[in-house]
C-alpha cells in the first residue's frame, strides 16, 4: 500500500513537473480541501480545479474521477471561463490518514493532483493533575497528570501553566509529545506563594485545559522526619518520650506546626499497632509522649508527618525505647516430667514453663525461681534460671513446687506446680502431624475414653539439637484431639512430637512421632552390600540413614536390579527394614543394582553395584560335598556288605586260587584241570589250582651267552622270588623260612609276554622253595618282578632262550617237572 502511494506521489510530482515544463508557470490542476485535518468520521469536501489549457483536456473528451485510497468517488463537474472544476463529497472520512487524488481519464489516465487528509479527535482534558514539592537539594515541584483515555490519532502537545499570584508571574512549560510529567525548578515557584497550576492539551482539532489546582508549594511537600531519641520518662511507668526532627535539608521548617503520627510495637511483635496515634500541630523542638504502654517492655516506634494538607511522609526509620520496669505479673504455664529414683527415694523432675497469655514480664532481664515453699525463702529454693526449664530432684513425698518470675523491680506471685507421678496408662494412639504453613503443624491424635483423663500435653522438640530449652509444650483439655502448634520450625529438620495424656493423678504414657515441616529427598542413600548369596538368591543389606540426612520420614527403600538383557526388577523394603532378598537370579548373568530411598518430599538414587551369582558358592559346595560324602559312604557300605556276603566269589574273581601242591596229584589235576582251564579262560572264572606261580620273562631276541649263563646260574633269584611269595604275611601258615620246601619251575620266553603265540621254544627253570604257596583267600597282587632292568621275567612261561640244548630229551624234563606237563598240554591247546 505504501509503495503504491509512493509511486502515485512520484507520478504526481513528475506530471506536475512536466506540466510546468510545458507551461512553465502553473500546474495543470490544483486540488483543494476545506481542511486537511478533520474529525474522524466527519464529511470531507474537496475540489479539483483543472486549467482549460491543460493538454490533458484540450480538444479531448475526458472524465474526472476521485480516488481515496482504493476507493473511487464520483465528482460533480462544473466549469467557468478558465478552468474545469470537479467537486467530490465524502460523507464520512474513516481513515486516520489517507490521500485523496484527482484523476483525468482521456486518451490516457493521469493523476492531476492530490491532497493528504488526516483525521482524529480533539484532545481530552488532562485528568488528575497533582504536584508535589521536593525539599531536598535542589528544591523542585513535580507535577503530573493523566492525558485521557481516548486516542486522538493526532499529535497532541501538552504544556504546563503556572500563575504565581504574589508576584503576578506566569510560566509556561512545553513538554515533548507523550510526556505527562514536568519538574518545575525552584525559580518557577515561591515556597509560600499560592500558585495556580493547570495543563493544556493541544492538537490540530482543538485544545483543552485541565481543572486548575491551587497550592502553596510548601504545603505540597513530602517531608522526611526522623526519630532522634526514645526514652522513658522518670517516675512515669508505661510512658515513652519521642524526640524527633525533620531531615537536615528540611530543618528550616522547625517552626512549622506539623501533624504527626506515631505507631508502636513491642520488640517481639511482628505487627505495628493497627491505629497510629495522631498528634496535631506539633513543632520539631517539642518531644511527644506516648503512654499506656507495658512496663519494662522494649518498644519500636516510627513517625510520619505532614504540613497542612501535604501528603504524609514515609514512615521514618524505627527507633527503640524501653519503658520503666515493674514487677512481673500473671501466671506461668508449666509442664513437669517426673521420673522416679527409687534407690534414693527421690524424684527426678524436669520442669518446663512458658508465659501464659496474662503473664507480663514487665522487665527486660527476667529470671525464674523454683522453690519448695510458697513464701519466698532462700532455703526453699531448688532452682534459679533465666531459661525456660529446670531439672532438679525432690524427695518422693514432694507434692508441689512454686514458680516465680523475677526482674529488677520485683517478683511475681508464685505459680503452683503440682508434681504428678508417671502412670503406666496409655490412652493416646494414632498421632499424626500435618504441616499447616511455614510456621505451624497440625497435630492430631486419638484417645480412649477415660473418666480420669483431664487433658493432654503436646510436647515438641528438635531432634537434631539436644538443648532442653528448645522443648516446647502446649496443654489442652480432654475434649481436644488436635492442636496447631506454632513456632520457628525449620524445613527438612526432624521434630519429635509427643502427646501425653493427663490424668487426675498423673501423666500417662506418651505416643511420639517424628514430624517435618517440609520434606525433601534424602541427602544420602546408604550403600547396599551383599550379605550373602545362595543358589539364585542374594541378600542385600544397608546401614540406616543418619537422622540429619533423612530430610523426611523414610517411606520406602526400593532396590532396582537388572541383568545384561536390561530386564529391570524392583524389590521394596519397609522403612524399618534394612534388607531385601533378590530371588530368581540367573547364575550366568552380571547384575546391576541400586537403591532408591523415598520420603514424601522426593526420592534419591544411590550408587550402582554389580554382582554375579557364583555357580558354586560355599553353601552349594558344602551341600554338594555333604550329599556326595553321604552317597559315597552308602555306596561303600553297600560294597563292603556285598563283599562280605560274597566273599568267596570275590576272592576267586580277583585272586585265583592256587592249589596246595602237597595235596595235589598232577595226574588228577592234569586230567581234571584241562577242561577246567578252558572254562577258566572262557568264563574268566578263577583257576582253582594247577600252578603255584607262573612268571613270564621276556628275553631279548639276541641275549648274549654270558647273560644267559648268569641268568641260568643264578638260582638265588628264583629263590628270592619264591621266598617273597612264600613269606607273605597274610598267609595263616606263615612261618618264615621254616616252611616246607616246594619245587617251582620258571618258564622263560624269548618274546614279549603279551605277544601272540611265541615261535621260539620256552626255557624252563627249576627251583625249590620251602615257603608255602599262597592261600586262596589272601589278596595278593603279584608284581612283575624283574631281575634285570630291561627284561621281563615270565614265570612258568615257555621261552625259547631257555630251551635246553639240542639233543636233550624232553621227556626227561617232563619227568623232572611234573607240573610242566600240564603246561605242555596247555601249549598244545593254545597251539
Amino acid at each position: 500500500m505504501i509503495s503504491m502511494w509512493l509511486s502515485v506521489i512520484v507520478m504526481l510530482v513528475a506530471f506536475v513537473n512536466g506540466a510546468r515544463n510545458e507551461d512553465d508557470v502553473e500546474p495543470c490542476a490544483k486540488v483543494q480541501t476545506d481542511s486537511s485535518v478533520v474529525p474522524l468520521g466527519s464529511p470531507v469536501r474537496a475540489t479539483c480545479v483543472i486549467r482549460k489549457t491543460c493538454p490533458l483536456v484540450v480538444g479531448q473528451t475526458f472524465h474526472i474521477e476521485w480516488r481515496l485510497g482504493e476507493h473511487l468517488f464520483p465528482g460533480n463537474l462544473s466549469a467557468n471561463e478558465s478552468s474545469i472544476v470537479s467537486e467530490v463529497f465524502i460523507p464520512s472520512f474513516n481513515h486516520t490518514r489517507s490521500f485523496l487524488a484527482c484523476w483525468v481519464r482521456a486518451s490516457t489516465v493521469q493523476v492531476v493532483g492530490g491532497v493528504e487528509i488526516r483525521a482524529g479527535y480533539p484532545p481530552e482534558a488532562p485528568q488528575n493533575t497533582s504536584c508535589q514539592t521536593n525539599l531536598t537539594t535542589p528544591n523542585t515541584l513535580t507535577c503530573s497528570w493523566d492525558p485521557g483515555q481516548q486516542e486522538t490519532h493526532l499529535l497532541t502537545k501538552y504544556s504546563l501553566h503556572t500563575e504565581i499570584w504574589d508576584t503576578n508571574e506566569n510560566f509556561t512549560y512545553k513538554l515533548p509529545a507523550g510526556v505527562h510529567r514536568y519538574i518545575i525548578p525552584r525559580t518557577g515557584f515561591g515556597l509560600f506563594s499560592d500558585m495556580k497550576i493547570y495543563v493544556k492539551a493541544v492538537n490540530e482539532l482543538g485544545e483543552t485545559t485541565s481543572e486548575p489546582i491551587i497550592l502553596e508549594p510548601v504545603s505540597a511537600a513530602k517531608l522526611d522526619p526522623l526519630i532522634l531519641k526514645i526514652q522513658a520518662v522518670p517516675r512515669r511507668y508505661g510512658c515513652l518520650q519521642l524526640s524527633w526532627s525533620l531531615s537536615q535539608q528540611q530543618a528550616w521548617m522547625g517552626e512549622f506546626r506539623l501533624n504527626l503520627e506515631v505507631r508502636l510495637k513491642t520488640a517481639d511483635s511482628p505487627d505495628w499497632s493497627a491505629q497510629p496515634i495522631l498528634v496535631n500541630q506539633v513543632k520539631q523542638a517539642k518531644a511527644v509522649d506516648q503512654c499506656r504502654l507495658r512496663p519494662g517492655t522494649q518498644y519500636l516506634a516510627q513517625i510520619r508527618v505532614r504540613y497542612q494538607q501535604s501528603p504524609w511522609s514515609e514512615w521514618s526509620r524505627r527507633q527503640s525505647g524501653v519503658t520503666l520496669e515493674t514487677a512481673p505479673t500473671g501466671r506461668l504455664d508449666s509442664w513437669t516430667k517426673v521420673s522416679g529414683d527409687h534407690l534414693h527415694k527421690q524424684l527426678n523432675i524436669q520442669l518446663f514453663w512458658k508465659p501464659s497469655k496474662q503473664f507480663r514480664a514487665n522487665g527486660q532481664n527476667v529470671s525464674y525461681i523454683v522453690s519448695g515453699k510458697k513464701l519466698p525463702a532462700a532455703n526453699g529454693k531448688v532452682c534459679s534460671t533465666k531459661g525456660n526449664y529446670c531439672t532438679f530432684q525432690l524427695p518422693e513425698r514432694a507434692k508441689k513446687v512454686y514458680l516465680r518470675a523475677v526482674n529488677a523491680a520485683g517478683r511475681s506471685r508464685p505459680t503452683e506446680v503440682r508434681i504428678y507421678r508417671p502412670k503406666d496408662r496409655a490412652v493416646v494412639s494414632g498421632v499424626s502431624v500435618i504441616p499447616q504453613d511455614d510456621r505451624s503443624l497440625l497435630v492430631q491424635w486419638k484417645s480412649l475414653v477415660s473418666s480420669t483423663l483431664t487433658g493432654f500435653v503436646v510436647e515438641w522438640r528438635p531432634l537434631l539439637k539436644t538443648d532442653l530449652s528448645l522443648t516446647q509444650f502446649e496443654i489442652t483439655d480432654r475434649n481436644k484431639t488436635s492442636l496447631v502448634i506454632t513456632g520457628s520450625f525449620e524445613p527438612y529438620k526432624p521434630y519429635g512430637i509427643s502427646v501425653y495424656p493427663r490424668f487426675k493423678d498423673g501423666i500417662g504414657l506418651p505416643q511420639t512421632v517424628n514430624a517435618y515441616l517440609r520434606q525433601k529427598a534424602p541427602s544420602m542413600v546408604p550403600k547396599i552390600q551383599i550379605k550373602k548369596s545362595w543358589q539364585s538368591h542374594v541378600e542385600l543389606t544397608w546401614d540406616e540413614i543418619p537422622l540429619d540426612q533423612r530430610n523426611g520420614n523414610i517411606q520406602s527403600y526400593k532396590v532396582f536390579y537388572c541383568d545384561k538383557q536390561g530386564t529391570i526388577n524392583v524389590v521394596g523394603a519397609e522403612p524399618e527394614e534394612r534388607r531385601v532378598v533378590l530371588k530368581g537370579l540367573n547364575t550366568e548373568s552380571v547384575y546391576e543394582a541400586f537403591m532408591m530411598v523415598s520420603t514424601s518430599g522426593g526420592s534419591s538414587k544411590g550408587s550402582t553395584i554389580r554382582f554375579k551369582i557364583e555357580p558354586f558358592d560355599a553353601v552349594a559346595v558344602v551341600t554338594f560335598s555333604t550329599v556326595l560324602g553321604v552317597g559315597m559312604s552308602f555306596l561303600l557300605i553297600i560294597v563292603v556288605m556285598t563283599c562280605f556276603s560274597n566273599q568267596k566269589r570275590l576272592k576267586l574273581h580277583f585272586w585265583p586260587a592256587v592249589p596246595d601242591p602237597a595235596n595235589s596229584s598232577i595226574k588228577r589235576w592234569t586230567s581234571e584241570s584241562t577242561q577246567d582251564s578252558h572254562l577258566d579262560w572262557d568264563n574268566e572264572e578263577p583257576n582253582p589250582m594247577y600252578l603255584s606261580h607262573l612268571s613270564f620273562l621276556e628275553f631279548p631276541a639276541k641275549l648274549s651267552k654270558k647273560d644267559d649263563d648268569a641268568w641260568l646260574s643264578n638260582a638265588e633269584d628264583t629263590s628270592d622270588l619264591g621266598e617273597s611269595i612264600c613269606g607273605s604275611p597274610f598267609l595263616p601258615g606263615y612261618s618264615g623260612s621254616n616252611c616246607d620246601s616246594v619245587p617251582y619251575a620258571t618258564v622263560t620266553f624269548s618274546g614279549p609276554c603279551d605277544s601272540p603265540t611265541p615261535k621260539d621254544p620256552h626255557a624252563y627253570l627249576r627251583s625249590e622253595s620251602t615257603q608255602p604257596l599262597l592261600e586262596t583267600e589272601e589278596s595278593f597282587t603279584p608284581k612283575c618282578y624283574q631281575n634285570m632292568a630291561t627284561d621281563k621275567q615270565c614265570f612258568f612261561g615257555p621261552c625259547h632262550d631257555c630251551v635246553p640244548e639240542k639233543g636233550t630229551d624232553p621227556r626227561i624234563l617232563w619227568d623232572d617237572f611234573p607240573f610242566l606237563r600240564a603246561l605242555a598240554l596247555n601249549d598244545s591247546q593254545i597251539d
Binding site: T137, T167, T187, L191, W252, E255
Partner: protein
C-alpha cells in the same frame, strides 16, 4: 462597712482595672505576623543553605566562609567591584521605625538578589538561593502591605556584571556576597523576631 462605701470602692476598683486594661499600643495585625513568620522561616532556610552554596560556588583557595576570611584584605576589591555594604538593620523602635526597618529589609533582599543574579551568569548553584531571596522579598513586601507601610523608597541596584572581568573577580565577588548575605540574614532574623513581637503604636 456601709454598702454605699462598698459600692464606691468596687466602682473605683473596676475603673482602675478598666483603665489599666485599656491598650496603650496594639498588637501587629495577623497578616503582618504571618508574613513576618514566613519571612523568618525563609531567612532561616537561606542561612542553612548558604554554606552549601558557598562550598559549591567559591572554590578559590584562601577564601572561606567558616571562619570568614579577613575582609580587611579585600577592602580594595570591595570598592573596585562596587559591592555596597548591607543595609543596617535594627529592631524597630520609635527612632528606628517599622517602616524603615522593613524598607531596609526589602532593600537588602533586592541588593543580594541582584548580586546573585549577576553571579549566576558566571557560577552555577546560586539560582535556588536567589529564588529564596525572591520569596523573602515577596514576604517582606507582604509585611509592608500588612502594616500599610507605603511610599518608602526602594533599594539601590548594583551593576556587578560589568565588573566581573575574570574568574578571580567572580570568586571574590561570590565570597563577599555570600558572606555579607549571611551576616545580613542574621540581622534579618533578629529584626523579624522583633517585628513579630513589636507593638504597633495604638490609640490611648
Amino acid at each position: 462597712m456601709k454598702p454605699a462605701t462598698v459600692a464606691t470602692l468596687l466602682l473605683c476598683f473596676l475603673l482602675v482595672v478598666l483603665t489599666r486594661s485599656a491598650p496603650l499600643s496594639s498588637a501587629p495585625p495577623a497578616a503582618l505576623q504571618a508574613a513576618a513568620e514566613r519571612a523568618k522561616t525563609l531567612v532561616e532556610k537561606i542561612l542553612r543553605d548558604v554554606p552549601a552554596v558557598y562550598e559549591a560556588a567559591v572554590t578559590m583557595q584562601g577564601l572561606t566562609l567558616d571562619p570568614p576570611s579577613q575582609t580587611s584584605d579585600l577592602q580594595m576589591m570591595v570598592s573596585s567591584l562596587g559591592i555596597p555594604p548591607a543595609p543596617v538593620l535594627k529592631p524597630p523602635s520609635e527612632t528606628f521605625t517599622l517602616a524603615v526597618c522593613v524598607t531596609r529589609m526589602s532593600a537588602g533582599c533586592q541588593l543580594y538578589q541582584g548580586l546573585l543574579g549577576d553571579l549566576s551568569e558566571r557560577l552555577s548553584g546560586l539560582s535556588d538561593l536567589r529564588a529564596d531571596l525572591r520569596d523573602l522579598h515577596t514576604h517582606i513586601n507582604k509585611m509592608k502591605e500588612a502594616a500599610h507601610l507605603v511610599g518608602v523608597g526602594e533599594g539601590q541596584s548594583v551593576d556587578l556584571a560589568s565588573r566581573l572581568h575574570g574568574n578571580y573577580e567572580v570568586q571574590v565577588a561570590a565570597h563577599l556576597t555570600l558572606t555579607q548575605l549571611r551576616s545580613f540574614c542574621h540581622d534579618l532574623v533578629r529584626s523579624l523576631r522583633a517585628v513579630a513581637a513589636y507593638q504597633l503604636p495604638g490609640n490611648r
